[in-house]
Amino acid sequence: MLEKTLIKQNIPAERRLCATRRGFVFGKISLITALFLAVMVLHSAAGVLVAPTVIFISDKGRTGRMTVQNPTDKPQEITVYFSFGLPKSDSLGNVTVRLTDTLITDPNSALGWVKAFPRKMILQPKGSQVVRFRATPPKDLPEGEYWARVVVRSQDGETTLPSPTAEGAITTKLNMIMQTAIMLKYRKGQLTSKLELGETSATVDGEKVKVMIDMKNTGNCSYIGMLACRLMDANNKEISHASVQLAVYRNLLRRVELPIREGSFMKPYRVEIGISTSGRKDIAAEDMITGNEISQALAVQ
């Protein structure tokens, strides 16, 4: 575009080339500057970081750790406490995690015998803190996996109340408190990861196919893996696919929606379901427990 303009203005070829290159260089500089500014903005808005997303404690070491980091420019008040909550589904296949602090009756709860140090801290700007966990389970604890949620609560360490700008006025200050609930798993003895499929269905719902998959954990630890669904036509052509991370602790009804793309697809359609413990990139390979693989094809109703 720039070169065409220069040709129209009868600018000599050498100067044209030079000007075009300058334009390219400055365009590049602008792009880099814009990217840099974007990263700066994202960085300045960052909150408290918590890593990893799952803490594993074995019965051999009985200790674990987590890192909390404050990359903001303000001090953050951090509180670490324990709660209990497993992923649960409703009849529509929506999965939620609700935390419960008291009256936990789950036999696989690790609440009460896992401690965190420190539990309260002020993290200075750019500061980080390692939180260590120590498990002291009951002596007669059967083999298996035991769970608790580590809740990291963070809020601004310094708050100021706003002053009314008009006489007799009322001002408000809402403290936005953030809680990150990550799973802690205590593992003892030989663990088996096994999943069974219950009732499954695939039905057309408008412009998508709704797949409902009922799963039951029959192992002695949580089944962590991936659930993949592919919508296929009669000629084995893939119409769409979806893949979600899966964590089944007891029973779970999961809904997956597959869009029916426009195209020359021949009915009848079918859905291919694949469940496997492989394909997780967020959990270290040594912490994964290999379980059974499931594959099933469903006719779309």
């Binding site: 260089v25 992923p87 403290n175 809680q179």
Partner: protein
Amino acid sequence: MRNSISKSLARFVSIVTIVTFAAVLKPSTVSAQDVANGSATATVQAVLVVTSTAALAFGNVFQGVSTSVANAAAGAGVFTVTGQASSVIAMYMQLPDYMSTATGDDRMVISFSATDASVDSTANTTPTTFGTGWQNTNPHNINAATELGNAGAALFLGGKVLPTVDQAAGAYTADIILTVAYTGT
């Protein structure tokens, strides 16, 4: 001559930018390193970040006059969540029934209706320009599990304060708590 100067300038700017990027991004990366003699292995751990980029703001309110902020208004509260891309999170809110003065002498009712929250599953964090997701959902029961994209997700929150006719003037505070958990771990 000019070409070589431009090239050198471009190289210099690129190098400076890369170095600055590295310096800026360094504190954001939480990683655990297990170092053994003779070789080094590093395990970069997945992180979960929950942030509040804006508090729900009602501004000045007056006795006997209720004030509302919509979840698509500039004064809406904004939480953002970033983490492992394509993972699914569950969000749960604990909302106050009233706000109180610092001394606890007086209280003011605050309410949240069944349409006061919106969950934006795109990179957008501005409540006035909603992208896609779940609009006008119930903040007391955000049951739609949200799949995190590369840019994460945002939650916009509106609300309403109802000062009485004899509400004492001053500053009132309350806590809004957002809890986020992965459903797939």
